[in-house]
């Protein structure tokens, strides 16, 4: 919409009728929504960092590590299970989940790219892969939660002498109470985002299939949900680093 004549005149640039940031209203608002969403996730991240640093870290040998209330657990000793086996594979399951989400981001980029070319069939194909990737990720997360909540067979003795297996919001076998609380809140908040992303993707897939965007003349809606999907992927990378690796 912007014309060269208006671009040169800064006053007119912000006077209305043109797009000063050279993106459409919808895309711009998606960017600012993502910024505000980044603020809410930062709130959780800040809480996590502050609480973790106000607890003692485990300083002994990694092989001698046992679960205790007195220090923050080492994540690679907590997240060791993968489905269908009892052999410990530290962090492998989250590694797979990360891979799934990155791949679904790639298929989303390809859907956006197909949208630029007005290629309805390709948009449908890649959106469908993205939806499948999202569902696979949420499925893995449900499994991860189940493993975390069920806990080990041995469990751990709490202060009152009882043996506790797994985790809930009030007690857990892995370490201090806030560890499990933060796990549920942070991965749960992220999982909610992925779930709503899947629903939005399904709606956009449906609209593509019935030809809504073809009639509209452009596939910008795919770009907008694409931005959201990449943001959710990005948040997971931060969760992965700060909750599972550090």
């Amino acid at each position: 919409m912007a014309t060269a004549a208006v671009d040169n005149d800064n006053k007119n640039l912000w006077g209305g009728g043109v797009e000063p940031m050279k993106v459409s209203y919808g895309k711009l608002m998606m960017w600012f929504f993502l910024l505000s969403d980044a603020l809410s996730f930062s709130g959780l991240l800040i809480t996590y960092g502050t609480i973790r640093y106000s607890h003692d870290a485990y300083n002994g040998l990694i092989d001698k590590f046992v679960f205790s209330d007195t220090y923050w657990p080492v994540p690679e000793k907590v997240f060791t299970h993968i489905p269908f086996t009892h052999t410990p594979f530290p962090l492998v399951f989250v590694g797979i989940m990360t891979f799934i989400l990155i791949m679904s981001s790639v298929t989303m980029v390809l859907a956006v790219e197909a949208g630029h070319r007005n290629d309805k069939n390709d948009v449908q194909k890649w959106l469908l892969w993205t939806i499948l990737g999202g569902i696979a990720f949420v499925g893995c997360q449900a499994w991860e939660w189940t493993i975390f909540i069920t806990g080990s067979e041995e469990g751990r003795m709490l202060y009152d002498g009882s043996i506790f297996h797994g985790a809930n919001l009030r007690a857990n076998e892995y370490g201090p109470v806030p560890f499990a609380d933060l796990f549920f809140f942070i991965t749960g908040f992220h999982g909610t985002h992925v779930t709503s992303g899947i629903i939005i993707n399904i709606i956009v897939f449906y609209n593509t299939a019935i030809g809504t965007y073809e009639q509209r003349g452009h596939y910008e809606m795919v770009e907008k949900v694409g931005l959201y999907w990449h943001f959710v992927d990005l948040v997971w990378l931060f969760v992965f680093t700060f909750f599972y690796l550090v």
Partner: protein
Amino acid sequence: MSHAHHESTPSLHVHPKDPAKIRKVWVTAGILAFVTGIEFICAFTMHRGPFLTSIFVLLTFVKTFYIVGEFMHLKYEAKILIWSIVLPVMFIIWLITALLMEGGYIFVERGMIFN
């Protein structure tokens, strides 16, 4: 299901694929997978401590750059849009740093009070 009806709707002109663009997407994906791989290796081979943590943070920012820059296309947007997003995020990063220090302080103080 509605492929057969394409002719009746105002059909858009389908442009051909640009192999260079698609290659770039896969290269970016490869970089992301590679960096995650390095993080994995570091997690199992290096001693835990501030040094390893800073490697993780640094590599996460590398991945952020590729996802936001390439996948979300921010690198190619107008300068003013880039700064509208990046500047607030820089303040967030400062807040995180500040509250990590605050957490460490709470830990030290608690030790003094209860021991």
